[in-house]
């Protein structure tokens, strides 16, 4: 697969996918994990994943669009938020970092208790030449909720 990104420049693009082999029970402070053995790739990529820690390692010489489509079955009627963090970081990354979080809200009984809410379930990173590793941090979540096996990680790797 070849992407010509300028009239003097050709770049290869590889799609990489990871999924989950089993559901994951999560609470606040947990990391969303994927199963490294589920990896599917359209070529020889530079992406690696730690199944235990959920840390995603990318190449510092390439550019990436990472998209995590996260399916959650909440244990109770409440909000959840999932943010990107660096592999060792303790703060949530922001839009300024090229990172976009997952946010889902539920309305309270005061507004009828009905889920008249639009949410977002895809967490994205857009980053050129990353020098950090990344992971998905559960910032808000009803205790003991379930991340379903519908959850997937798609990575677009562009070689300069």
């Amino acid at each position: 697969m070849t992407y010509k990104v300028s009239n003097t420049h050709t770049s290869s693009c590889i799609w990489v996918e990871f999924s989950k082999s089993s559901t994951q029970t999560v609470s606040v402070g947990d990391i969303i994990t994927f199963d490294a053995t589920t990896k599917r790739s359209t070529g020889s990529d530079s992406v690696s994943l730690n199944s235990s820690t959920g840390v995603i390692t990318l190449s510092s010489s390439k550019r990436y669009w990472v998209q995590a489509s996260i399916a959650v079955e909440r244990s109770s009627n409440n909000n959840y938020e999932i943010f990107w963090r660096t592999g060792a970081g303790t703060t949530n990354l922001t839009n300024d970092d090229g990172c976009f979080s997952v946010v889902a809200r539920r309305q309270t009984a005061a507004t009828g208790g009905q889920p008249y809410v639009t949410s977002s379930h895809v967490a994205s990173i857009m980053v050129d030449y990353p020098t950090d590793t990344y992971r998905l941090y559960v910032d808000t979540m009803p205790a003991s909720s379930t991340v379903l096996t519908l959850t997937n990680l798609f990575i677009m790797e562009m070689e300069d």
Binding site: V5, N7, T118
Partner: protein, 145 residues
């Protein structure tokens, strides 16, 4: 999959969002598909400064891109939010993504292929007027010219 944007500055990834809270309009009634509401955008990032942002529209300046649009809004009226989001311009078929969400595992993003990206509400029955925190986003990747 291949693309040739013929762009000398080689910018593949573009993302834009709204950094301030914004209030949605209030509307109820029968369903229409030309409501013509535009979501605000005030910030753009593009490592090679090919794209520009003006009047809530991201413009890749002639380079066609695949765009993904998303919002997060918590409505407060009794009938809830019943509207879709879509891009104003789209070289693909019209694609309006439903935002009247009842389940946690649905993809409610919208997509387009075009050189410009402006996120709209057109197809609508009701919108609550809620003030939403910064969560309007457009992400794009150049795919051709």
């Amino acid at each position: 999959m291949s693309y040739d944007p013929r762009e000398t500055r080689s910018s593949e990834f573009i993302y834009a969002w709204e950094s301030q809270s914004q209030s949605l309009p209030t509307r109820s009634g029968s369903t229409i598909d030309n409501y013509n509401y535009t979501f605000n955008l005030d910030t753009i990032k593009d490592s090679h400064t090919v794209a520009t942002l003006a009047n809530d529209e991201v413009n890749a300046n002639g380079v066609s891109a695949l765009w993904v649009g998303d919002i997060r809004d918590s409505g407060t009226n009794s009938t809830g939010n019943q509207f879709s989001i879509e891009f104003e311009d789209n070289d693909l078929i019209r694609m309006a993504s439903n935002q009247d969400e009842r389940w946690a595992y649905r993809d409610d993003q919208c997509y387009s292929v075009h050189s410009r990206a402006k996120l709209k509400i057109e197809l609508i029955r009701a919108v609550s007027g809620a003030t939403i925190a910064p969560y309007v986003r457009i992400l794009g990747v150049c795919i051709g010219q």
